[in-house]
Amino acid sequence: MLTIKEYKKVESLEEAWELNQKRSSRLIGGMMWQKMSKGNCAVAIDLSGLGLDQIREDADQFEIGCMVTLRALEQHQGLLSYTDGAVKEALRHIVGVQFRNTATVGGSIYGKYGFSDVLTLFLAMDTYVELYRAGTVPLPEFAAKDYGRDVLVRICVKKHPGRFVYQSVRNTQTDFPVLTCAAARLPGQPFLAVFGARPGRAVRLFDDNGILGEQITEEAAREFGKYAAGRIKTGGNMRGSKEYRTHLVRVLSERAALSLADGRENRNDCHS
């Protein structure tokens, strides 16, 4: 268990950032992941007094504070309708309602966990991460680089008239996923598929060669599945072998492409 010497509910982001520069300090999101860790923490920095538990929506974007819980995210009507249910489909399998009432968006994104449904989901959207010191960076850049001991203030999702789908495979309900797959059809960019729990951190794959074309057919979707299986690096762990994961990449990307074909029903299962 993590031992904590001092608990500090900060009054500003500057205070949080300063306290966090010491290696012995820790920022506290929902604490769900850190609770599982061992070690000594000199100062636990609580961000819950800064009003960062709000989701703001306007015509162009969603601003999601770092302390927004996963449950609040999955219940947000604006996000649900923008993603056609993909946000709910991504989050509803994570442990249970009680867990998601505490786990935060900030802790989930900052953690960059390989298994993360949350990271997979937001990588499919036009997402930016606002860091207190480093400023605003696109999520793919944030996921790829180390931003040290900065504070994640909020994430921002730019709205585009597009469509999203989310799928994951689990061996049992509420377990970590064996593979996650989010996909997006957005104007001005090729079809995008994101794969997480490979078991490594989520990565993006664009249909740069135009395999899917303008009108996605069953045959094109099948070809895209093969292409993705050849391109996405997978590995094995206790939840599934490398071969099984690669098979899943093929199947899920084919299904994702088909479900985003014009005139098709989105496969986000939470609708059923």
Partner: protein, 155 residues
């Protein structure tokens, strides 16, 4: 550090260690319905309400409950009794260890969604594990309880 928590409608001010977990805080106040199962946020046995929302007290710091409302099964006895009778009638439990956490989360479900579908029930209670049963008895109990409440409401 000092915290003030409204625990089951009673204001409690205590000096606590910064790393004290909420489960230990409420148990120290005599709320023994709140139990340790997995301690890894997986089983739902330690469920309490924090400002009305179900959370896992094994993974929440007591410090986070400062100036907030915490409710345990001890504070919901009347509400739990009605539904508990249906669980018993359906033989939904064997050892009963999962019962307090299950009751808490079922009450949270009834408050949030008074008329849930079967799929919504299964999904809401997915974080409450039971090692003895196959969940069918619990599901029957919930459906019959909701039916009874509906009928009672019509009378």
């Amino acid at each position: 550090m000092t915290v003030t928590v409204e625990l089951n409608s009673r204001k409690v001010t205590r000096n606590i260690e910064p790393d004290m977990l909420l489960i230990d805080f409420v148990r120290a106040e005599g709320c023994y319905s709140v139990k340790r199962g997995c301690e890894t946020s997986n089983c739902g046995l330690c469920t309490v309400f924090l400002d009305g929302l179900p959370v896992l007290s094994c993974s929440v710091l007591a410090a986070r409950a400062d100036n907030r409302k915490v409710t345990t099964l001890e504070g919901l006895l009347e509400e739990a009794k009605e539904f508990g009778a249906f669980l018993a009638d359906e033989g939904a439990e064997q050892c009963g260890f999962c019962n307090p956490g299950f009751l808490m989360n079922a009450i949270a479900l009834f408050r949030e969604k008074p008329e849930p579908t079967e799929q919504e029930i299964r999904e809401y209670l997915a974080g409450n594990l039971c090692r003895c049963s196959g969940y069918e008895g619990q599901l029957r109990a919930i459906l019959k309880f909701l039916e009874w409440k509906k009928e009672r409401g019509h009378k």
